[in-house]
């Protein structure tokens, strides 16, 4: 498995819920990410889908070490990032970058494009100051923006342009791996397509590896090589893009897929929905067992008793379900 750029092993991220009258003591914990393992290969796009509250963004934050995980390892080229501190960590950050969701919130409104793009150079002392403007121009052209716009401020760009600046900022330090956290979900469809196209283009030109986090299956389906489906902090299914979309095994994946409408009235009117009876957020506090069981038509006693573990069902296709 030399080909793996990132290996995630038994990653856990628990957030304590503080309670207690006298001294704050740890009561219950929110298990945002619970025992997740997977690998990302060099040069691929690894899709991570899940609905709100599934822990996918927390997972991305752990990978970036913006949250320090409770337990587990995040290996980047065989180095465990969770063990790095201070300067070492800062150096690794050059190689792992992020693109964020909100094109309005991810750029400091008081800095212009050139400042935003050159800041990483300043932090890591990568280029002499006099070459900043050249570098900024390069980066802007790379992401398809007019270098003449370098001195504009975020509010003077459209949403799509802002997302391009965000991408340029991530690329300035020459990373190998980028966590794309919902990079297109707040964009209009046509802009969405442009950004996805740009990401794909950059991937092939710069040999980048992506972790592509999204709630929109269609977007993930159209971008990823491997896809992992997350539900309540755990992975429920992991496989190649085709495995997941053409042969989903986990009842949750199937329900998810069936809920996504297809923009074609002819097809759409023939598709069947999988019944998901209860509102997702409602059945939150059931300890133990499969967390999906209360929505699952196939649930049985085993599902209540033990938490299912990931098992390989066919080559490169894992699922966590007692019933399959």
């Amino acid at each position: 498995m030399d080909n793996n750029l990132i290996e995630i092993k038994n990653l856990k991220m628990y957030f304590p819920v503080v309670s207690g009258a006298l001294l704050p003591r740890k009561g219950s914990e929110i298990k945002a990410v619970d025992d997740v393992s997977f690998n990302i290969r060099r040069g691929e796009t690894f899709g991570l889908v899940g609905e709100s509250g599934s822990g996918k963004t927390t997972l991305g934050m752990c990978l970036l070490q913006l949250y320090r995980p409770t337990a587990g390892e995040v290996l980047f080229q065989q180095t465990d990032l969770c063990k790095l501190r201070g300067k070492e960590l800062r150096q690794v950050r050059r190689h792992i970058q992020a693109i964020f969701q909100d094109p309005y919130g991810s750029l400091n409104p008081r800095m212009n494009a050139a400042d935003i793009i050159s800041e990483p150079l300043n932090i890591h002392h990568l280029t002499p100051r006099r070459e900043y403007s050249k570098r900024v121009e390069e980066m802007l052209s790379l992401v398809g923006l007019d270098p003449a716009m370098a001195h504009r401020y975020p509010h003077e760009f459209s949403a799509g342009e802002r997302q391009r600046i965000g991408i340029a900022r991530a690329l300035t330090v020459g990373p190998e791996f980028i966590v794309c956290d919902e990079p297109v979900s707040s964009l209009d469809v046509c802009v969405q397509a442009q950004i996805i196209h740009l990401l794909e283009d950059l991937q092939s030109r710069l040999n980048l590896t992506y972790l592509f986090i999204a709630h929109d299956l269609a977007v993930v389906g159209s971008t990823s090589n491997h896809v992992a489906v997350m539900y309540r902090g755990r992975l429920v299914e992991l496989g190649t893009r085709d495995h997941i979309f053409d042969n989903p095994l986990h009842p949750y994946t199937r329900a998810l897929l069936s809920a996504v409408p297809v923009p074609d009235p002819t097809i759409e009117k023939e598709r069947q929905r999988m019944a998901v009876t209860v509102d997702v957020a409602e059945a939150f506090s059931q300890p133990g067992g499969c967390s999906f069981r209360s929505h699952c038509a196939e649930a049985a006693d085993t599902c209540r008793e033990a938490t299912p573990v990931m098992e390989m069902k066919e080559p490169e296709h894992w699922i966590a379900c007692w019933r399959s």
Binding site: D102, P109, R169
Partner: protein
């Protein structure tokens, strides 16, 4: 309402920061501009008081005492025959000194710094700062002002006066700057908490913003994040608070004079003039001694407050 991308593209927006936009919005605000003009006018008159005032502040003429307002003395004269108009102008100069001293005393800086540290680093530091802040909030500040300012002030002024003597300059103590520095310095010890709480709240929300996350992901240091990413974005509410705060500082000078903590006679301050004449007997016999200083203070407070409103509209625009 979402923004209208199409419209925006047509606008000739080229590298103008939010500050410039805020400036433009402010310039369009008539109320704000009028207030700014008033403040500039009054502050200008105060700073250049010796040039503006027709008489000296301590120029006495016992034969001309208690003259009602007229051509020669637009605001009348007081019991020592001094020109009230000139004294009001010099009083404004004291107000200028008060506001500058209050800013220099550092309550503001302390508040912002504490708020930034508390909000940004969180956890233990946050708890400690907020707890300490609560003690200060619960502590009656007038007690502190009297016990610290009233007792420390003579020592400090004596020391500075000695310093003036050795250096060979004069007038720093006489202007009241040192007095107010000490008083507001003492006040700063208790008054940082309000500002710190505002700043902390802002920092807490900005800390989770994606651009701060992005900066952290880039490996930016804490100081870079605080000063480049967080601080500029909490400035607008601070500016508004400062503007309103300037008004209340100008107003608090009245109370400080009453407590005997202000500038020393014969240098006039609006507060001294109000307090000395804040009496119904004056209002019945020589009302101009009271009304002109009061009017001036009221205008200053009023203008700073409305300016704060206007700045708020300009800096924190909300689409209606």
């Amino acid at each position: 309402m979402r923004s209208f991308e199409e419209e925006k593209k047509k606008r000739p927006a080229r590298g103008r920061s939010l500050w410039i936009y805020a400036g433009q919005r402010f310039m369009r605000n008539k109320k704000g501009m009028v207030c700014l003009a008033i403040i500039l006018l009054l502050y200008g008159a105060g700073i250049f008081a010796p040039l503006v005032a027709p008489y000296g502040y301590d120029q006495q003429n016992l034969g001309q005492a208690l003259k009602a307002p007229g051509w020669e003395h637009p605001f009348g004269t007081d019991r020592l025959g001094r020109d009230v108009f000139s004294r009001v102008i010099f009083g404004i100069r004291t107000t200028v000194i008060v506001t500058v001293a209050a800013m220099a005393a550092g309550g503001l800086v302390l508040g912002i710094a504490m708020g930034l540290i508390s909000g940004y680093f969180g956890r233990f530091i946050d708890s400690v700062i907020m707890r300490v802040g609560e003690v200060f909030l619960a502590f009656p500040d007038i007690l502190l002002v009297i016990l610290i300012a009233a007792t420390l002030k003579p020592r400090v002024t004596e020391w500075v006066r000695g310093l003036e003597g050795t250096v060979g300059i004069e007038g720093i103590v006489r202007s009241g700057f040192v007095d107010y520095m000490v008083v507001f310095g003492a006040l700063a010890i208790v008054s940082w908490v309000g500002m710190a709480r505002v700043v902390r709240g802002q920092v807490l929300s900005l800390k989770e913003s994606q651009y701060v996350m992005a900066a952290r992901a880039l490996g930016a240091s804490h100081w870079r994040i605080i000063f480049r990413h967080i601080f500029p974005n909490i400035l607008p509410p601070i500016i508004v608070l400062v503007s309103v705060g300037m008004g209340s500082i100008a107003g608090s000078e009245v109370i400080l004079s009453w407590l005997g903590l202000g500038v020393q006679p014969p240098v006039p301050s609006l507060g001294v003039m109000i307090w000395d004449n804040g009496d119904i007997s004056i209002l019945r016999t020589t009302p101009y001694l009271l009304l002109f200083p009061v009017g001036t203070v009221a205008i200053i407070i009023f203008a700073f407050n409305l300016l704060g409103d206007a700045l708020n509209d300009a800096l924190n625009p909300k689409i209606r």
